[in-house]
């Protein structure tokens, strides 16, 4: 008990603790891959502690927009953005923003589970270590806490030193979520996080998203309409680089304004 309090105190001294999501504002965003105009005049606001789902056919720009929010697309040569993307009022594309600092605030979970070839423990500790945290008691506490938040603790508590590769795909994906949570991001970006998983793992991830919403702002890209309707508060429908419709999920799925949105969600094309 005493020990726990101690850790709590320490964790407060590190600027990681203290959950609550951040708002995201995109204004007049245009995005180019060299000559290809991938996103056209996107205006979108994601509210704090809400889950927003991006839907749309492949190549519509939804993943591109997701990867703009933690500047993951910087890794691709010849990309260019105009307009502004603000996270809690701060322009993340301003020249004095440090990309690694931004990515600490805006965590990401990828389509394919990509744990490092390290132990389960070291996978989750990685983000803390690369961000300069050396206090081992804090790291240990934080790792356990994150794995618990990712609903994985019961399955891995006895094999923390084992390779993460020994886990199943669904467990690996939850480990990747734990890994992202460990550095206490404010926003969690998820790029089709369940598309490579079986139905049971998928429902676990979805339950998890529901839980995590209390502490994080979540943006999820998905091809699964049911998933979008189950997990999200708001849904954005992209088509050919344009944001066609963005509204409450219940509205999008019951009474969409745009005919294109309706066709897509009813499976008439896409």
């Amino acid at each position: 008990m005493n020990n726990k309090e101690n850790v709590q105190h320490e964790s407060n001294s590190v600027p990681l603790q203290g959950y609550s999501g951040l708002t995201i504002n995109a204004t007049n965003v245009d995005y180019y891959y060299s000559d290809f105009h991938a996103l056209k005049n996107i205006n979108l606001e994601v509210e704090q502690n809400k889950v927003v789902a991006f839907i749309g056919p492949s190549g519509c720009g939804k993943s591109t927009f997701l990867r703009i929010m933690n500047r993951m697309n910087d890794l691709i040569d010849g990309t260019r953005l105009t307009g502004s993307v603000l996270i809690e009022g701060e322009d993340i594309y301003s020249p004095n923003v440090r990309v690694d600092e931004l990515r600490k605030k805006v965590g990401m979970v990828f389509q394919k589970p990509n744990p490092f070839p390290k132990s389960i423990f070291e996978n989750v500790a990685y983000g803390l270590r690369v961000n300069g945290i050396k206090d081992n008691t804090f790291i240990e506490e934080r790792v356990v806490e994150s794995i618990k938040s990712a609903a994985l603790w019961d399955e891995v508590k006895d094999k923390m030193k084992k390779s993460a590769f020994a886990l199943s795909g669904g467990q690996q994906q939850r480990l990747c979520i734990a890994r992202a949570l460990a550095i206490s991001p404010k926003v969690l970006l998820m790029d089709e996080p369940a598309s490579a998983l079986d139905p049971i793992s998928t429902s676990k991830i979805e339950e998890l998203i529901y839980e995590l919403k209390k502490d994080y702002t979540i943006v999820i890209v998905t091809h699964n309409m049911q998933q979008a309707s189950r997990v999200s508060d708001k849904t954005a429908y992209f088509y050919l680089g344009e944001l066609i419709e963005f509204d409450e999920t219940i509205k999008i799925f019951t009474n969409p304004t745009n005919i294109s949105t309706q066709n897509y969600i009813t499976g008439r094309f896409g």
Binding site: D77, P117, K118, V130, F165, R179
Partner: protein
């Protein structure tokens, strides 16, 4: 016609043994297919076995001819009586020094170039240019390296015939191999691992150090060790830069000449004092040389297996 086809599908789905509709008519053509398969398979198999046979033949030849010369004295004593008797100890040590020296030169430069080309300069024109140059460098005949080494290191830079000059020349020779190995090993690491690391706020350098390099390490080390095998057997690059015809004492500094196994083999087979009398020693030397290279290759395999098991759990 259409009706009949339907009927056939129906019976198929009802019967417990589902026969594909093609099976009846296609039997004759499938048997000729099976023959051509079998013939191709046999030819491929024979060809690959013949490679093994050639290696066994060479090894067998060298071992039977050379084993008689091997003794403790042979491995630990200097050549005597015009290199017709005695051992090859200075040549073994010389070769080890040259391998070490060239590795000290080529590994850091090669690995860092490889990292630069795969991690930093991806897709840009400079990297492509470096890659073309590297490929050309690996195509340069080794005797040309020897000549170049003599001109640059021995004469212009004034190192003389020395371990330093020889190591640098051998280093140049193995550089393309080291660069390519590093680059290929890094390329084999899926990009998603880099993304995973960067998404956690790691810098590019941290990502390379903590994720990419450890994963690529088993393959890199294999390449490095294979380049050692290559270097230890080269004759031409050391011909004009370091190798001594006969030098029964060990070097005391990097500016000394040394004997080396491949050159010693060449010397006593072509221009020794008594070629016939040194024949046994020549085969003995060849055996030692082959044994070293083989040992190095086995070591490479063991290390790769060891590290690729280790890297998963660490």
């Amino acid at each position: 016609m259409k009706k009949e086809k339907n009927k056939e599908t129906n019976t198929n789905s009802n019967s417990p043994h589902i026969t594909p509709p093609l099976a009846g008519g296609a039997r004759s053509s499938s048997s000729s297919k099976r023959w051509s398969q079998a013939i191709a398979f046999t030819i491929f198999k024979l060809m690959s076995y013949s490679v093994v046979a050639i290696l066994i033949l060479i090894l067998g030849f060298i071992i039977t001819k050379g084993i008689g010369a091997i003794s403790w004295d042979f491995l630990t004593k200097a050549p005597e009586e015009g290199m017709t008797k005695g051992g090859i100890y200075p040549a073994i040590i010389g070769t080890l020094y040259l391998v070490l020296g060239s590795s000290l030169f080529s590994f850091p430069i090669g690995i860092m170039s490889g990292i630069y080309m795969n991690e930093y300069a991806t897709g840009n024109k400079i990297a492509t240019f470096i890659r073309i140059m590297t490929n050309n460098l690996s195509g340069v005949p080794s005797v040309v390296f020897g000549l170049f080494g003599m001109a640059l290191f021995v004469n212009t830079m004034g190192f003389g015939d020395s371990i330093l000059a020889g190591s640098l020349t051998l280093g140049l020779l193995s550089l393309p191999l080291v660069i390519r190995t590093t680059e290929e090993s890094l390329k084999a690491i899926d990009f998603s691992y880099r993304e995973g690391s960067l998404a956690l706020g790691a810098t590019k350098l941290q990502t390379i150090q903590k994720v990419v390099l450890p994963m690529a390490f088993p393959n890199i080390i294999t390449g490095l060790i294979l380049s050692i095998g290559r270097v230890s057997g080269e004759t031409a690059p050391i011909l004009f830069t370091v190798a001594a015809y006969f030098l029964p004492k060990l070097p005391t500094s990097i500016f000394d000449q040394v004997m080396a196994l491949p050159y010693h083999l060449y010397v006593i087979s072509t221009s020794g004092t008594d070629i016939e009398a040194s024949r046994g020693i020549a085969y003995g030397t060849a055996l030692v040389l082959i044994f070293i290279v083989l040992l190095v290759n086995i070591l490479a395999t063991l290390l790769r297996n060891y590290f690729s098991n280790k890297v998963k759990t660490n």
